[in-house]
Amino acid sequence: MSNKPLIIGYGRTPFGEHYEKDPEELIEQAGLKALEKAGIERKDLDAVIVSNHFLQLTNKIGLEEGFISEILDVHIPMETARSFSSAINHACNAIEAGRYDIVLVGGVEKMTDRLDKIGDDIMMLADSWSYYAGGTMEAHHELMLREYIKTYGINGENVEKLMRALAYISHKNHEFGSRNPYAQFYRSKVDIETVIKARRGGILGLYDYAPISDGAAAIIIAKEEKAREIGLEKGLTIVGRGCATDHLSYTTRETLIGFKSTKIAMEKALKEAKVNIEDIKLMELYDQSTVMELIALEDVGLSKPGNAWKMIMNSIEEKKYTYRTMNGEVYVNTNGGLKADGNPYGATGGAQVCEVCMQMMGEAGDRQIPIYENAYALTMEHEGFGTKTYVCIFRRWMK
C-alpha cells in the first residue's frame, strides 16, 4: 500500500454571483456534499484546512475556522491557506507524515460582495509596487503578451494568428463551460469572432479574462488504509505534488515571459509522481486570461517556448477541443477553466480538482472525456501573478 493520500469525496457550489448567500452558507454547501460523497460523518474528520484569498478584505471575516466549527460543531484542528492547492498541500503533508487520517479541505470566496474594490485588492495582493505605479492585473497580462510578441519576433499576420489562437482558448473554455452545470457560464457558448470583436482599441477584451466570482468547493483527503477501512470503492490518488515561489514584483523576476514557479513546480511534481508528461491526458491549467493558458501550455512543457499559439492554430483546424501537443493529445480545462467555470480565488483550485474527480470517475456528464486505464490528470494553480504555483498529479484508484 502506498502512503500517497486519496481523494475520497468532493463537492462544490455553482460559481457565479451569489448575492443572497453568505460565505458561510457557500462553504457549508460544498463541505456537506463532499462528506456525503465520501460517505463519512463529520466526527470522522481529524482536521480541516480551508482556503480563501480575500475574505478578510471583502467580508471582514478573519477566523473562518470558527464558523466551520460552528457549522459542523466539531472542535478538531483547523488551519487556513490562501489557495485551494495550498490547502491540499498542507493536508497531504500531514497525512503523509502520519499525523492525520482524514482531512477536509475547503475553499471559499465571496468577491462580488465588494465589486467596488476587488480590482484594487487583487492587484495590491498580487504585486504591490506595480499597484503603486498604476498597474492592474489586466495590464500584467497585456505586458506579458507584449514581451512574448517582441521576444519571439511575432509580426504581421502572425500577430493576428496569435490573437486568434487566444480567442480560440476562450471559445474552447466556454464550449466546455456551457456543458458544466456548476460553471458561471453554463449553457453559454462564445464563438471566436465574438471574442475578437470584444477587443477594442488594440488590447485584449472582456472574453479574454476570467470573471469575478463567488463560490466554494471542498474535498475529503484520506490515508489509503483509512479509505479501505471505510469501504471506499473508487477515488483519486494524489501521486505527485510540486510547488514553488517567485518574487512578488513581476519586474524583478528572471523573465517577463512565463512563470519560473510553474516550471519548478511541474518538474517536482512529475518527478515525485514518476510519470512522463505523455501519460497525462487531462490538465486543469490556471487560465486567469487567455494569455495565461497559452503561457501555461509552454510552462508545463506541452509546447516549446514561443510555439504554443501555432499548436493551438492546428487544433482549431482539427475542430476538436483538444490540443495536439508535442506530447500527444491533451484535454485542457474541461470544466470551462477559470474563464467559463468562474474564478472565486480560494475555491478556484477546488473546482479544478472536482473536475479531475468527475472526469476520472466518469461522472462528467455532457463533457465526459475518454479516460483510459492508468491515465493521469493534473491541476496547476497560481497564487498572485505566478508568485506561487502548485501542481498536483492524480491517478484513478480502485478498490
Binding site: 474594490k117 498604476g134 495590464a139 505586458l143
Partner: protein, 506 residues
C-alpha cells in the same frame, strides 16, 4: 482613508527611486536592500544607497489602462509599462504622464516601446481632502519630447566668491498650455501641483549648478498654493532631492521652511540667503541655500467672484541656489517696501483668492515696486542707464512696461524678462522666472534690477551683476532652458474645460 505610515514609506522610496548597489559585485537593486542576493552573507551591512531619479531608462513594453484601480481612475486612460534602467539590469513598473489619450483611439504599443524615458516627480494617485498627498517618481515621459534627459554630474565648488550670489537656477513649467488671444499660459497636468513643480525646479537647479545636494543647508519654498494649509513643501523637496547632510534614519541636516507673501514669498528670501552665506563666508565656511518660488496659481472659474484672475494664471516654479562659491551672478544690494494694502487675499478655508479690482494697480503694484526700485537705485548711486535689464513682477503684459517707463527704463530693458505671455502669472515664481529669462541671455558684468511684488503688499528690489561663470553653467540646461520651455514642438494646447480639470487636479 489611507494609511499615513504606508503612504509615507512608499513615498520615501518611490519619490527618489531609492535603491542599493552591492559594493562587491556591483549588482544594483531598486528599493533599498540590506544584502546582495548574489554575494549573500559577505555583503550584509555593506550595501551602498543609491537613487535613480536622475536616470535614463528605456520603455521595454507597455499597455494602455482604460480601467484603472480606484485611486488611479481620475488619471485613466493612461499608458503603463516596464522601464529598464540604463544602469544595470533593473526593471521598474511606471506610468506615462504628460500624455493625453482618447479612450476610443486604437492603442499601438510600437509607437512607445523602445524609446528612452526620464523619470518625473508626480502625485501618485488621487487622495481625499483629509488624507496626505501620495507622491512618486515611478512616472515617466519620453526623453525625445518636451523634457529631455540631462545628466546630473556633481562637481566640487572651486572658488570662493567675494560677494555671495546666485550659484545656479532653473525654472520648470509644464508641457501643457492654454492659448487665448496673444496670451499663452502654462497648465499643470492633472497629477501636478505646487509641490511637484517645486521638486522639478529644484532638481533642474541642482543639475545646472552641479552642486551636490548635501551641500545645501537651508531651503525656502515660497508659495500661496500649497495644497496643505499645514505641512511644508520645503521638507518634501529636501527629502526627494536628498538635500543636506545625512543624519541617518531618513533625517537630513537642513533647515527647511515655507514662506508666504503672495507673489513675493520667494524673492523676499534671497536677501536672507545672501546674509547667511556672507556670515558663513566670514567664518571661512561654504554655505548654500535653495530658494524656490512655486505656484499652481489659483483663480476661481470664470463667472465666479475672483474669476477675472482666471485669464492670467499660470503654473510653474523657479529655483535658485544662493551661496558663496562659484557665483554666476552677484547680489550687490537690496531694498524692500511694505504697506498693509489688501489688494488680493484668500481667507483660510477659502478655495480661491479675491482681488481688489482697480485698486490692484496704482495703490498696490506701482506704488511698492517704484518705491523699492527707486530707493535701491539711489542707494547704489545708479540710474536706469547704468542698468542693463529691469525685471519686475509680471501679473499681466501691461503693468511691467508701465512700471519700467516710470522708472526711466526703455522698453528694451524690460521686454527680455517678460514671460507672462508664455507662462501666465506664475505668482511666487513670476519675477524669479523673469530673472531666469534675463540670466539666460545676459553677458558677464551686466547689471540687472529685479523688483518683485507681493499683494498685501510689498516689493523686494535687488541689484544683480552677472559673472563670467554663468557661461559654463547655463550651457548645462540648454536643452531645457526658458527659451525651450517657451516654445517647442512638443507643447500641448488644451481647451478651457481641460485646463480647469487639470488645474483642479486629483
Amino acid at each position: 482613508m489611507s494609511s499615513e505610515p504606508i503612504e509615507r514609506r512608499v513615498s520615501y522610496i518611490s519619490d527618489r527611486l531609492r535603491g542599493s548597489i552591492c559594493p562587491i559585485c556591483g549588482k544594483r537593486y531598486f528599493k533599498p536592500r540590506y544584502y546582495c542576493t548574489k554575494c549573500g552573507r559577505k555583503s550584509i551591512g555593506k550595501m551602498m544607497e543609491t537613487s535613480y531619479i536622475y536616470s535614463e531608462g528605456i520603455l521595454e513594453v507597455c499597455t494602455i489602462i482604460n480601467e484603472a484601480t480606484n485611486r488611479f481612475k481620475p488619471l485613466q486612460p493612461y499608458i503603463y509599462g516596464i522601464v529598464t534602467l540604463k544602469e544595470g539590469d533593473i526593471k521598474v513598473p511606471a506610468r506615462l504622464t504628460d500624455h493625453i489619450l482618447n479612450s476610443g483611439d486604437e492603442f499601438k504599443p510600437e509607437i512607445y516601446e523602445g524609446r528612452k524615458v526620464v523619470f518625473r516627480f508626480r502625485r501618485r494617485y488621487a487622495s481625499e481632502p483629509q488624507e496626505i498627498i501620495p507622491t512618486t517618481s515611478l512616472t515617466f515621459t519620453f526623453a525625445d519630447e518636451y523634457y529631455p534627459y540631462i545628466p546630473y554630474e556633481t562637481k566640487e565648488p572651486k572658488e570662493i566668491s567675494e560677494k555671495p550670489g546666485i550659484v545656479g537656477y532653473a525654472i520648470y513649467t509644464s508641457r501643457f498650455r492654454i492659448r487665448e488671444g496673444d496670451m499663452e499660459r502654462s497648465v499643470p497636468f492633472i497629477d501636478e501641483d505646487s509641490i511637484t513643480a517645486a521638486v522639478e525646479a529644484g532638481k533642474l537647479a541642482l543639475i545646472q549648478s552641479a552642486l551636490h545636494g548635501e551641500k545645501i543647508k537651508k531651503i525656502y519654498v515660497g508659495t500661496e498654493s500649497n495644497p496643505y494649509s499645514v505641512k511644508p513643501i520645503a521638507s518634501k523637496v529636501a527629502q526627494v532631492l536628498d538635500l543636506g547632510e545625512d543624519l541617518g534614519d531618513g533625517v537630513k541636516g537642513i533647515d527647511a521652511i515655507d514662506t508666504e507673501f503672495a507673489c513675493k514669498a520667494a524673492t523676499s528670501m534671497f536677501k536672507d540667503a545672501i546674509a547667511l552665506s556672507k556670515y558663513m563666508a566670514e567664518k571661512g565656511e561654504e554655505y548654500f541655500t535653495m530658494v524656490i518660488g512655486t505656484d499652481n496659481s489659483q483663480a476661481a472659474p470664470r463667472g465666479q467672484p475672483g474669476g477675472e484672475l482666471d485669464y492670467f494664471v499660470g503654473y510653474g516654479a523657479a529655483a535658485y541656489i544662493i551661496g558663496n562659491m562659484d557665483v554666476i551672478a552677484e547680489i550687490e544690494g537690496w531694498y524692500s517696501s511694505t504697506s498693509d494694502t489688501p489688494d488680493f487675499w484668500r481667507r483660510d478655508g477659502q478655495r480661491y483668492p479675491l482681488h481688489g479690482g482697480r485698486f490692484t494697480g496704482e495703490p498696490a503694484y506701482f506704488k511698492h515696486i517704484i518705491k523699492a526700485a527707486k530707493k535701491l537705485m539711489d542707494k547704489m548711486n545708479l540710474t536706469a542707464k547704468d542698468i542693463n535689464y529691469f525685471v519686475p513682477h509680471q501679473p499681466n503684459a501691461k503693468f511691467p512696461i508701465r512700471a519700467a517707463r516710470r522708472l526711466g527704463f526703455k522698453d528694451e530693458q524690460c521686454l527680455p524678462s517678460l514671460k507672462v505671455t508664455k507662462f501666465g502669472n506664475l505668482y511666487s515664481g513670476s519675477s524669479p522666472a523673469g530673472l531666469a529669462a534675463v540670466l539666460e541671455i545676459a553677458k558677464p558684468y551686466e547689471k540687472i534690477l529685479l523688483t518683485s511684488f507681493g499683494s498685501g503688499a510689498g516689493s523686494d528690489a535687488y541689484l544683480i551683476t552677472v559673472t563670467p561663470k554663468i557661461l559654463e553653467k547655463r550651457k548645462r540646461l540648454e536643452k531645457f532652458n526658458i527659451e525651450w520651455q517657451s516654445s517647442n514642438p512638443y507643447l500641448i494646447y488644451v481647451d478651457y474645460n481641460t485646463y480647469r480639470r487639470f488645474k483642479e487636479g486629483i
